[in-house]
């Protein structure tokens, strides 16, 4: 319990540092937000008036705390370009991106765990060699290119998939999920390859340890040693990797959404980066950071369940 408490505290602290860094970074870059809002229409009076109204003349730290408190209350500011609240803009996009990331994660787990165990068990067998080479190749294909290849193969040759035929989750949830399967595969493939490789190595390493010898000495079969003794130990680094992979998938979906024409957060993010619409960029970055930190917290908790050795340590 104290472990979880400590991890939550550490997460809050990191979140605090992240928010401070994000806020400072976007406050210190040259360019006045009011000028940016009104563009050519800006007059000195208008600028002064809005600066006062937006509290831009206050000290940096005061502005930070104001921004942070309103942020956690759900007020993420107003977009410079669209003049509408940022929270509303991203609220409807987040479920799309999150669904895509979670689907990719599930696909990665389903592929990598059985495959990793299988090739570790048949180390140096023919399948081990084939899959290891295949893994190396898959890891080298950037997700956006595999996305294009998938579109080409399933959309142009097999014609089972209609590129750009995205259906919103509010309209038809089934069709929404169906459309996301192939993009999810494109995101999952390189991560699955890495996870397979990691699990294989981890199982082989654990299988060489002394406690495995002890397990054999008590008359365990190879399978019993693998599933009762080795696997739980071997999963420890894999859990860490998968947590990082899930976080990467949230971000990785930005590129894939572009390839498959999925209206998730990527489009708003890229437009706002190009247009320097900072409130939107800030909100999305903070949103993703919060997701990532929550994922990390979950990984830490799972970690604690798998590995009893982790104590409250500094």
């Amino acid at each position: 319990m104290r472990y979880i408490l400590k991890k939550v505290l550490s997460m809050v602290l990191t979140l605090f540092v992240v928010s401070l860094c994000v806020f400072l970074a976007f406050s210190l870059i040259p360019g006045d937000p009011v000028t940016r809002m009104f563009g050519t229409e800006a007059t000195p009076e208008l600028i002064a008036q809005y600066r006062e109204k937006m509290g831009l003349n206050d000290p940096l730290l005061v502005r930070y705390f104001r921004w942070f408190t309103s942020f956690i209350q759900g007020d993420m500011g107003t977009s410079y370009d669209y003049k509408i609240p940022v929270a509303g803009m991203i609220a409807e996009k987040i479920p799309i991106t999150l669904t895509l990331a979670i689907m990719s994660f599930v696909i990665m787990v389903l592929i990598s765990i059985p495959l990793g165990i299988y090739i570790a068990k048949h180390e140096n067998g023919i399948m081990d060699h084939i899959i290891s080479i295949l893994n190396q190749i898959i890891m080298s294909i950037p997700p956006f290119f595999s996305g294009i290849l998938i579109t080409f193969f399933f959309g142009v040759i097999l014609r089972v998939f209609k590129p750009g035929g995205f259906v919103s989750y509010t309209k038809d949830f089934g069709a929404f999920i169906k459309y996301l399967i192939l993009p999810a595969v494109a995101i999952a493939l390189p991560k699955a390859a890495m996870a397979t490789k990691l699990l294989r190595g981890s199982v082989i390493e654990e299988a060489g340890k002394d406690y495995t010898r002890t397990a054999y000495s008590r008359g365990n079969t190879t399978n019993a040693v693998l599933y009762l003794h080795v696997l739980k130990n071997a999963m420890i680094p894999v859990v860490t990797f998968m947590g990082m992979a899930l976080a990467d998938m949230v971000a990785g979906s930005i590129v894939i959404e572009q390839v498959f024409g999925i209206p998730g957060i990527s489009r708003i993010l890229l437009t706002s980066i190009n247009n320097r619409d900072y409130p939107v960029v800030e909100a999305i970055i903070m949103g993703i950071a919060i997701m990532v930190l929550v994922i990390n917290l979950l990984v830490d908790i799972i970690y604690r369940i798998i590995d009893p050795r982790i104590e409250v340590e500094e």
Partner: protein, 251 residues
Amino acid sequence: MEQRRVIQIRNLNVYYKNHKKTPFSKDRMNHVLKGVDLYVYEGEILGLAGESGCGKSTLAKTIVGMNKIYDGVLSQTYSDPQMVFQDPYSSLNPSKKIGWLLEEPLKSDKKYKWTKEEREKRVKEIIKAVGLTENMLDRYPSQLSGGQRQRISIGVALMRNPKVLVADEPVSALDVTIQAQILELLQQLHRDMGITILFISHDLRVIYQICDHVAVMKGGVIQEYGETKSVYKNPSSEYTKELLRAAGIRK
């Protein structure tokens, strides 16, 4: 003849930070050495016996100045004491050649600036003194056996010609026959160079073989001190008796 004390330790206390500290507990310091009194006489080999966690390594580190935070008196006649560690595999930098390793103490000597020729001469002298040949100088530690590495470690410690050598379990990681050779080497160096040695070991048989005096330590306290033979014959503390019994020396 009254022998000179080269190291005098009076009421030495060392505290270590407790690394497993919890945010809510107060007890953050471990009292590792609790009022240690010890003298080391010039030219002797003093044995320090004890089991793991008794504080013997902490005492060694404090004497050679690796542990700067202590209270109590620690006065030494000679500066620059050197130390030999237990594990011959980790005490030599794996990415450097033996010659480089031997030369390094001379490059960082603050009292005397050694020229290149002098350094090379000294390296050759020492490699011979620890019973190895010059062709070892071009090798890496990984190409040496455990016993050879321990000889090099001793050589590194001897480069600047120290008057005091602290040897922390120098033979514990070695095979018995190699152990005997290293002990012989230490005794020979002690004879030839007149070095004072503080010899730390958990092995009472080894201590008996080479030490003039012995101090037995437990829980950060010196339990017993005296001339080796008489301590082994008539141990006064219960703990010494238990140790001797466990080692099969006393029935």
